[in-house]
């Protein structure tokens, strides 16, 4: 199975569910388990909510880009914002580290994404924006793949 998609949407929290539903529909042909779908939706939401809350500080005039690619059973997810950027990526990845405790953020988004994915990379330039790259192998591959005419 090979496929690609790209989605661009306004930086508002209402679009979080749009983003994660799109990805779950995108991977549906692979017959993922409920657990896999849940994990992928959580990964997408973490990356997208970070872009909206921290990258753009809720400015809904700005856009978040979500790209997905399927290569066999390997799913790649890229989430991009051209917002604030991250000064110290290693610090940002530290469990419980959050710059918005006022919003009752637990500082666990990065940790959750990293734990749930097989590959996790944060590329960020302070003042320019951030790009989150995630790869996750899906276990449940359609066994009849390749027999299509």
């Amino acid at each position: 199975m090979k496929n690609k998609m790209e989605l661009k949407f306004a930086a508002t929290l209402e679009n979080e569910s749009l983003a994660r539903s799109s990805v779950s529909i995108f991977i549906a042909p692979l017959n993922p388990t409920l657990e896999e779908i849940g994990e992928i939706k959580t990964i997408v939401s973490e990356a997208v909510s970070n872009a909206i809350i921290h990258g753009y500080n809720f400015d809904d005039e700005k856009y978040v880009t979500l790209k997905c690619e399927l290569n066999g059973n390997l799913l790649s997810i890229v989430v991009i914002d051209y917002g604030k950027g991250i000064k110290d990526v290693e610090e940002a990845k530290t469990p419980h580290y959050s710059t918005r405790p006022d919003l009752e953020r637990a500082g666990m988004g990065m940790t959750i994404m990293e734990t749930l994915s097989d590959y996790f990379e944060v590329v960020s330039v302070y003042g320019m924006g951030s790009k989150i790259i995630i790869k996750k192998e899906l276990q449940h591959v359609d066994s009849y793949e390749g027999e299509t005419i």
């Binding site: 409920l34 909510s49 009752e104 953020r105 637990a106």
Partner: protein, 117 residues
């Protein structure tokens, strides 16, 4: 499924049931709802039921952790009901399962907390 919160009081606590998606677009609203109830009934126990919760991420973790911190101040305790293997995984990664336990039922939670009269 509709995104909803339902809060029902029991003896010394509140049973808090989330339905649908528990994400950033809901958590601040839910925090206000729970805090309002907490002011009203001053509970020592919170039990979070995730049976109909189809989605959770760090926003939900922050909401639950925030209430845990408030309950800790009154020497109370919090627990979980009906975790799917997916929800359990997210909650475990976030460290919440080391401070809050999972229970089989409201009855077993009450029993362990000694709130049954």
């Amino acid at each position: 499924m509709e995104n909803k919160i339902r809060i029902s009081p029991f003896e010394d606590g509140l049973l808090i049931k989330f339905s649908g998606d528990l994400d950033s677009s809901k958590t601040l609203l839910y925090r206000n709802r729970i805090q309002k109830e907490m002011i009203k009934s001053a509970p020592r126990f919170l039990l979070f039921d995730l049976k109909d919760c189809s989605f959770i991420d760090s926003a939900g973790i922050g909401l639950i952790l925030g209430r845990f911190n408030e309950i800790e101040k009154v020497n109370g305790a919090c627990g979980f009901l009906n975790l799917s293997s997916y929800a359990r995984k997210i909650i475990k990664i976030s460290g919440l399962l080391s401070i809050m336990k999972e229970y089989q039922s409201l009855g077993s939670f009450k029993k362990e907390m000694g709130v049954i009269l």
